[in-house]
Symmetry: C2
Subunit: 83 residues, 2 copies
């Protein structure tokens, strides 16, 4: 399992409710792809959304987002983490 | 206080040790700017590093990164979070 950070551009004006609904749509299908979406952060003014997930592959992460109706524009494996 | 996600490009080949050292360099000066760097994630193969912080402004976040020797290429306030 690898961690992934994916990025959605063009989400200008996204509201907290829309972000929660999008996250719930991911959670509803993620198990079938072996993915788990952990957190998401949004900048409504630039329209950027970042999602942190864990899963078997970039393709699996994208399949979840696509099935949920919002494919990501970029997906990066992030094998290194500090906290 | 606002949360910020900043992005560094051009960090290809970054190692876990370098990421930890960069994070420590931020932690060493962040208090003077009222910023706290919470986590960072790196993709050594594309050279992308994401840092999540909390602080009073984008400029304060950038001052910490600049003083630590690694100014960010993008800084986005991320007022909305889901988890």
């Amino acid at each position: 399992m690898t961690k992934f950070m994916d990025v959605h551009h063009d989400m200008r004006g996204v509201t907290e409710k829309q972000l929660q609904e999008a996250h719930r749509a991911d959670l509803a299908v993620e198990r079938e792809e072996g993915v788990h979406f952990e957190r998401a952060w949004a900048d409504p003014s630039s329209g950027t959304v970042y999602c942190l997930s864990e899963g078997p592959s970039k393709e699996a992460v994208q399949r979840v987002h696509t099935r949920a109706g919002h494919p990501a524009d970029e997906i990066h494996p992030v094998p290194l983490t500090v906290s």
